[in-house]
């Protein structure tokens, strides 16, 4: 059985996307996209709808043609190859199981197209279905399966041909929430076991964070940042990435340099900036002060802030019970119009007697603030 127990005969391959531009008519869908995906890596294209992530995936599969740039798989330029000669496996968002074939026929299709001997096809189909736990369902039609089972058939159909690269187009979006976590872990495990290079398209940051080694965040056809999940969360490159991955607080203001130490001056107060807060040393255009809700604590207005924290005075607008933490919405001068600064504190650790309308101090951890541009 080639699929699971034996070592793969071919090593994992890398995927390189080199300066790709793509237009749909006048619509510039991909703008100078340049990515290097490592062999055996689980990589995600993450972004809101319309950011070009699916277009980029379909470009690798050969369903779209780039106007500029090239795509290399294992060092080989595949830009001019049609989809059926690329040997990349794609799992479609809709699964695209053929309703006129049984599960086994669906899975056998790619092997038949490769003109393999009947006996080997039978053996590999059985192995692939066993791998996804659907052996007993070989004779069923897709319509007779649940959504999760259909998803596994789609996966089995793709991996049975042992593609060089596995492409997954929002494969979890049609599953219910409970199943999603389960399938997510299975996908990851399978990818590791087969040593496949996998690319995963999603708009869900949690999916990308939990399953992928590295993530490319896309917006308007441009790659915003590439990195491991924690890297993107802790060191976002710009306001979009900061806002897209988790909740974040933004404050408007200006950078002042009195002597050596720069400081961010907002309407609510001045926040001294450590060097790490300004990675390039220079304030980017449209700069905002950025910090995560759990990187601040609430304090009574009178007391002085703890060392290493800066005080932003405000008024409590609401509090929300979220389970492990409690979230406080504080109106602070300098925040975007209509938005409150959010502060997450562990359940039960907030000062006593805070009710909406109360004056309160937001104490920001200085080593956690960033100044980011758009």
């Amino acid at each position: 059985m080639t699929l699971v127990n034996e070592a793969r005969t071919t090593p994992s391959v890398d995927v390189a996307i080199e300066h790709v531009d793509l237009w749909y008519g006048d619509n510039h869908v991909l703008r100078d996209v340049d990515l290097a995906i490592r062999p055996g890596e689980f990589f995600a294209f993450l972004g809101p709808s319309g950011c070009g992530k699916t277009t980029l995936l379909r470009l690798i599969a050969g369903f779209n043609q780039a106007d500029h740039g090239r795509v290399l798989i294992g060092g080989r330029d595949v830009s001019d190859l049609p989809p059926w000669k690329r040997d990349v496996g794609m799992v479609f968002q809709s699964y695209a199981l053929w309703p006129h074939m049984t599960v086994a026929q669906n899975v056998a299709f790619g092997l038949e197209e490769r003109r393999l001997p009947r006996a080997e096809i039978t053996r590999r189909v059985a192995a692939a279905l066993d791998l996804v736990g659907l052996g007993p369902f070989a004779g069923r039609r897709p319509a007779q399966l649940s959504g999760g089972q259909q998803q596994r058939v789609a996966l089995a159909r793709t991996i049975v041909v042992e593609p060089k690269v596995l492409l997954l187009d929002e494969p979890l979006s049609n599953l219910d929430a409970k199943l999603r976590g389960e399938v997510r872990r299975e996908l990851r495990e399978l990818q590791q076991r087969l040593g496949l290079t996998a690319i995963f398209v999603t708009h869900d940051q949690e999916e990308a964070n939990t399953i992928c080694d590295r993530i490319a965040v896309l917006k308007d056809g441009t790659v915003q940042q590439v990195g491991a999940p924690a890297e993107l969360y802790d060191r976002p490159a710009n306001l979009f990435v900061a806002g897209f991955l988790g909740r974040t607080n933004l404050l408007a203001g200006d950078i002042h340099r009195d002597g050596a130490a720069p400081a961010f001056v907002t309407a609510a107060g001045t926040v001294p900036l450590p060097p790490a807060a300004l990675p390039d040393g220079e304030p980017p255009p449209g700069a905002r002060l950025v910090f995560r809700p759990h990187h601040a604590v609430l304090a009574a207005p009178g007391a002085a802030p703890a060392p290493g924290r800066a005080r932003l005075p405000g008024t409590l607008r609401y509090r929300e019970f979220l389970g492990a933490v409690e979230r406080f919405g504080v109106e602070v001068a300098g925040a975007e119009a209509g938005t409150e600064v959010l502060v997450d504190v562990p359940q039960g650790s907030a000062p006593e007697g805070l009710t909406p309308g109360a004056a309160v101090g937001v104490d920001v951890a200085l080593d956690r603030v960033l100044v980011l541009g758009a």
């Binding site: 599969a61 050969g62 369903f63 049609p82 989809p83 059926w84 000669k85 690329r86 040997d87 990349v88 496996g89 794609m90 479609f92 968002q93 809709s94 695209a96 199981l97 053929w98 309703p99 006129h100 299709f109 790619g110 197209e113 490769r114 039609r141 159909r157 793709t158 041909v161 049609n174």
Partner: protein, 584 residues
Amino acid sequence: MTLALPTTAPREKRAGAAAATPGQWAVALAIMAFLLVALVIPVSTVVYVAFTEKGTGAFTLVNFVDFARTDLFVRATWNSVWAAAMTVVLATVLALPLAVVTTRYRFRGAALVQTLGFLPLIMPPFVGAVAMQLFFGRNGTINLLLGDWFDISIPFMEGLNGVVFVEGVHYFPFILLNLSTALRTIDRSMEEAAQNLGSSGLRLFRRIVFPLAMPGYVAGASLVFVKVFDDLATPLLLNVKDMLAPQAYLRITSIGIADPMGYVIAVVLVLLSVGAVVLSMLAMRGRDYATVQRGGGGLDTRPLRRGERLIAWAVVLAILALVLAPHAALLLLSLATVWSYSPLPDGFTLAHYARVFGDSSLYITNTLLYASLAGLIDVVLGTAIAYLVLRTKLPGRQWLDWTAMAAVAVPGVVIGIGYLRAFYGIDVGGVPLATLWIVIVLALAVRRLPYALRACYAALQQISVSLEEAAENLGATKARTLRRVVVPLISGGMLAGFISSFATASVELAATLMLVQSNSDAPLAYGLYVFMQSPAGRGPGAALGVIAVVLVAVCTFLSHLVVERQHRRQSRDVAAPTIPGATG
């Protein structure tokens, strides 16, 4: 102008719907009464006569034994089956390239194909038969030229060849329409998944695309099969008498309505038609693929390379030239002074039109009257049946749908014979009921009802029940909800149903040929048939034919405009008359 046969019973509707009201019962009984009179009783009469002994009225199978022992009838049966099957093959050959090129490629001629491809349907096929003789007959243009140049002759129009040729060219739009719709609604990812796994080109088409479009193809093909069985005038005009429909007609008209053999042939016709329909439904059972999925969109249309574009245009133009040949020949014939034994007419004149407008305007007004009445009856019945089936809990409501749809599989000549037999004895003010023109309307209405019913059904099915519930919640009664919410929303579908009934009823002859008792009651198709029988009448006949085609085309186009405008006004997903599987 096509219909998909009802393959699955609709699912049970809302659980909380009230029990049937007396009003619903009254409507259902009225519809049942119509179906009994117009369809069930005449057809039952035919069956009854076929199984009874002449004179005594005792049950017997001897008529069928006679049928099986008569060489002519056995040959006629095989000829009919063979001609129908070959017509399906020819129609497929014509329709498949057009459907594929227009749905799967970015092809500028797509609109042309969609418009011109349907023209054959609005001309009676037997008129096409006469016209085709002029181009393809033994002494037609093509064979005269072939004879001059190569000294050969191709028997396009000899015997069954002619029937297959004429019917294939005439009825291929049924396959084109259904297949195109099916191809267009296949989810793009279905095809891409196959490409991703290494499939391409013809193999991809054969293994994935065509099987997915199969339900549409089978729906179209079974319609063509049944239609060829049904057609009476084409074989008669081509002088092919050893087929079932002509035999039934000749038997009744030459020997009389008392002769049982005509009824036996009619029963065989019905059995084979029903058999073909049932067979196609069985073949497609469980294959009603819900095609377009979540946000998928139809098949990708890809650009053609220069060479491919050339081939595509050549194929499309060749097919269009062939299928429009009858129209061209008809137009030439209507303007010709003399046209025989020459590739083109000797001279041109407008005299035929003058004569037709002078003498035969009665045919035109009769046709407008009959076809509009039939269309109106069909839309009213179609809407009522669709509403009862989809929106009420009336017990047995499915039977209304099934009975009405059964008319698809009843050949026109059987309806004609049944009406003569069932209604001849009924005296209305001194004349038999069967001789009144209203019977022609009844026959047209029941024959076209399935088309209108499917259009209305599809339109109503697309409207969310919550729209009606909202009206009822705000205090509107069922009747007022129907009038103020339902009917305005499905008016597009109703109009589409009316057009298809009107247009096809205008050119219908199979059932009416036997029912027309006097020239003053005759519709256009009958007049055409009479004209076309004599060489001298062919000029005026062609002029009448051209008028018929123009008339139906203009009416269809106008109604199309109305539907389109209404579509633009309404929200996009309401009352669309064309949905996969049940194109209006």
